[in-house]
Symmetry: D2
Subunit: 384 residues, 4 copies
């Protein structure tokens, strides 16, 4: 008899759509140890929640997340809401004995992230933090190559995550540009992703030095509620989060790191790129070409050495056997589907998935040190 | 009240998986005029058919396609089987008043393709031939740019479709390498796709001159039944289809065309690339980077003219608004999902989808002329 | 004592500039067995010839090539004139015991090319035909990899050479568009280059099938004499050479070849690209990125196999040790400089350089077969 | 009558070769207001100096730079020696009324650079600092586009200069790894170049924060004297310069800058890349593909906007008209040749070339601030 995992999800915007899609697709492509069942989606407004349930294929809906986390027929709580609500939902979910899948960034600050970890640990539930890019096959392959020692000693990590959606000064002051709701700007949104990849692929970070800028300090307040297409009115509001952040890092293993995130890189849409230089080779990746991994091996013959453009679409590559034949490329959403497949499998087998809340806390500690450094203008230790 | 489109599908291998996925996803991302309902899948062997129905989410299954096409509760027959069965299924479906979605290549030869068109036309049903690449957003954008006149007069079409899955001489003589079942080798499999794109983007073809080669003329007969992972035994069988075909074409509008397809391009996995040169600009595309379209406009300033790499992931681009935010790339399967969305919409609105069986017949006529030219060593007119 | 090679060159336009530059640079970067000395340049008009001599650094000039080839103080005659004069100059040079360096295409037709080879052979002089691209380091490396067996059995040759300099119908009918002077259009100009690379890298061609098109059949006659900037007047003249040619080929070793050349590929400037697929690997090259060679080796591990982008700028690569440190890229002119270095070295060591007139004759035979096929619409054997 | 510029050059290694080549080639491709004449090259050892003079085409040689700068028949002193000698030679040259062309980095520290500027200014001679990359046509085009306002307000500068020539721990401790001679490691060598490009393209830098690392702290002392092929012995010596430096910068105009240089990026040979994001567009460049410039214009139609890959080989592009037809790419050395052409022209017209020693001083000030920040761990103002 196949195990079943009953899911309740809070949130129905961008991440809500991506996760809903993932729960629906997983059973058709993967055989996880527990099969997800889409029990209920939760949103504030009954009409919208009902519509989302219908569109995405959830059995029902709730309008109060507190009711959802108390439902006996739910095993996993999926938190796909704005950052400032993560802590409360996660702690309540843990207290009700639910497994937890929480979107990134983990929390509004390090203290709250630690509370979440503590609550989940105490409750003995499983937990995953939503750094989906670890499940891009090319990045999973990068991890494998590094673990096999094919890069040797690592000298450099170099990453950027560039977008351009607020270059226009008429773009309104949506909630993502408000510190009280979002915690930070590009740092938590984009920086959290590349910090996670650095922690995943290179290792722990000892200290950072950061600089931030807010290029446009005031914007029209939104008249319509939300989304990238939100329109602005005549009244203006202050932007109190960072538009862009650069930070340098010293890894505990001696490597140097450079990171840059911005929402002001005209023409760059979702340009999440990194490069890792080691004594035996180099790896490079670009999310806008996510089916490809660049790999240079110093062990190749001198006359025919060069960056290999690996099409990560072979059955021998991570996750790919579940999908299509070679050369039939995957889309961005596959990272979420692979993630949910692993999550369901881990819960079904009763083991802790990765990255867990402990990884989320580590990530939050890096962001916290960066935020501190933006203020102090000095190097800041990453707190434990 | 939303219209419903009840679907019965024959076949459950590669295309069966892609189509099943598409029927399931369409209602979550699109609002077609008729919503597909996955009624029944059909396969020869009851156990496999039942398993496929369960995995992919079909309500039931059949083991005889004749039964399926006669079922009163089915509106659309999806033909995802090997080529030699297309004609019989399509004609029977038409005679039972079902709409038809048939995979490419349309038929084993031109005569059968014409029969299919005739039957469907006579029955007054809607029909679509499965040239899914027309629905890759970048290719739909290419079509739009051409229709707007942004390439001017077209001089050249240049296309290759390169794969490498049978370079190894130990790869067995599967049914795709048998003329009686497959009709042809790379010509019908890969050539049909790029011939369709040429007809779609440039226009009708007047005549062709072709050459074919079978590099490995004998292979081990398969011991296990199917798939790319099929193993071969000691006994050998003849390969009587083409491994590779090159053909040159004269379009009716005066443009020159070059086409090449092969299963012997080591390292090329699904390398479907084309370039179109016009008096005002050039377009280039590569299926392995299907979210990008190269476009050079002669109307740009001389000092800053260059091939633009358009990330076809903006809401203004065809199909993209239904998907993710800018820069969040789509995978190969999106071409099938977009296709099924359009198909359901056309049937719901009672209009003929495109490409219809008439386009399939045109395509088959080009393949037929190419096949004739391989034999004659001369230019052959494309028959009407 | 270092040997000296006294050079006399006929022609002072595009190739004259490239060759003059090469003779001047060679002694500074290479140590050929004979050092070139720039004795005299020859052109019809005294003023232009004198100016060219001064600019390019020739000791003197002549206005009659017959005088030049008779001069006792000249060892090597460099023929950088339009095609229709090659035969006469070469035969006269041979009869006067001069070594010969002749630009491509070799001659106006196969018969004249054979005469040239015969004359040079009879005279016992050394001869080189100017297929400079063999000396692009990346192409020399491709040759080495093939000779070492790293591609295995070769299945496919696929090449294009695309330009766009006559897309504009107002571009005048210069001599290159006149059959009597140029012999052919894109075929001899661009097709000769890629035919040479095919012969060099893959081997002899048995037969070809070709199609040609002249998209613009009449153009303004030039008012000023020459060059890409030539202006046209009101009177029009017929264009009787091909604007574009496609041809398919059967190699003697069983490989299939496809070739396409055009002057109507808007946006493509000097786009000379080829790909070779073998049983063990694939090579790809693009002249617009001439410091790079793409190489896929089927012998790489399955999980990390991919096209290697080899930066051909290492001291272990052909010709590179004479130039700059790794990563300091070379320009197009380096192909001519490397060529002249090898030519001077071969003559100094009294051996036949490669490609010799015998290779030029083979090349001309392929062009001749293609020209015949354009007329007949059939496959034509490459004559011996 | 054409003006003549008599040149004396100190140094005959890598830069000596590049500059010698440039002086020889300039008169053949350009018409500068003064034509360079290669009078004398200067090196410590008579045999090597004589050989260099002969190979590179200098009329004579000297073994004492003091004698060279005093020669009456010399107009321009070219300083192509290690950094620690720049100040003395430049000051002496100025005192003798010679124009000066000095390689980068300008000096061992800011104080010496200022002395050089002062001496040259006082003497009223012309001076150029050797930031040759400003004369790569693609970078000159980038400057033009920025000056025309096509990027709008600039938000971001992002640059890396990556090499890998000392990854191997057996590579010896050559003089470039010795602080007393080289001043610094990657900072002065590579950082000086990208700092210059930032100053050129974006503007003045207010402050910087830097971090440096020396990954391999001890290396074999060289047994043979010099060069990349230097061998090391058993004795070891300390490496007291930086292997890698990252620095962040605040520009005076409000833009943010990130810079990274290293000699430990395995597989990167001469990877000098930058990207500039402005409110109206973005520019990106890679020295290993130096004939190309990436440009995205926000003013393009939304549906066909994308990074344009401009082949900077058109006659309308900076410097290109002097060279070859479109698509015939230039090599790295062209940056030096274009530089020398401009230098000779400026001196011939009696105007100050650019970048002058004043730019060199600005550059040195940025490096000095970075070096200070490496020590302090804090942001440091760029001194005036």
């Amino acid at each position: 008899m196949q195990k079943v995992l009953n899911v309740g999800m809070v949130g129905y915007k961008f991440m809500g759509k991506a996760h809903s899609h993932a729960y629906a697709v997983v059973p058709k492509f993967f055989q996880p140890a527990a099969v997800p069942v889409m029990k209920a989606i939760c949103g504030l407004y009954p009409q919208e929640a009902e519509a989302a349930a219908k569109t995405f294929g959830w059995e029902g809906y709730e309008t109060d997340w507190r009711r959802l986390v108390e439902r006996k027929d739910i095993d996993l709580i999926d938190i796909s809401t704005p950052t400032d609500s993560h802590r409360d939902i996660a702690v309540a979910a843990a207290e009700n004995g639910k497994h937890i899948f929480c979107e990134k960034p983990m929390a509004i600050n390090l203290a709250e992230a630690k509370e979440m970890l503590q609550a989940a640990t105490k409750a003995g539930v499983q937990h995953l933090i939503g750094f989906n890019y670890r499940r891009v096959p090319a990045i999973a392959l990068a991890k494998k190559l590094i673990d096999e020692g094919r890069l040797g000693r690592i000298f450099h990590w170099r990453a950027v995550y560039l977008q351009d959606w607020i270059v226009n000064p008429d773009f309104p002051r949506v909630w993502r540009l408000e510190k009280a709701v979002a915690g930070s700007g590009s740092l938590g949104d984009l920086g959290a992703h590349i910090a996670d990849l650095a922690l995943f692929l290179v290792g722990d970070i000892a200290s950072v030095s950061a600089v931030a800028e807010t290029f446009i300090k005031e914007r029209p307040l939104p008249t319509a509620a939300t989304g990238l297409t939100a329109a602005g009115g005549k009244e203006k509001g202050k932007v109190d989060v960072d538009d862009a952040v650069i930070f340098m890092a010293k890894f505990k293993n001696g490597a140097l790191g450079s990171f840059e995130v911005t929402r002001f890189a005209t023409g760059r849409k979702n340009y999440n790129c990194f490069e890792i230089n080691g004594s035996k080779g180099t790896i490079a990746f670009n999310l806008e070409r996510l089916n490809e991994l660049q790999f240079l091996s110093q062990e190749d013959d001198a006359d025919s050495r060069g960056f290999r453009n690996i099409m990560v679409t072979e059955p021998t590559h991570p996750y790919v056997a579940a999908w299509w034949p070679p050369g039939h490329v995957l889309g961005w959403e596959a990272s979420h589907i692979n993630e949910v497949a692993d999550l369901c499998d881990a819960i079904g087998r009763n083991v802790l998935p990765s990255p867990s809340f402990a990884d989320g806390v580590k990530n939050q500690a890096v962001l916290e040190a960066a935020a501190r450094s933006m203020e102090s203008g000095k190097w800041e230790e990453v707190p434990r």
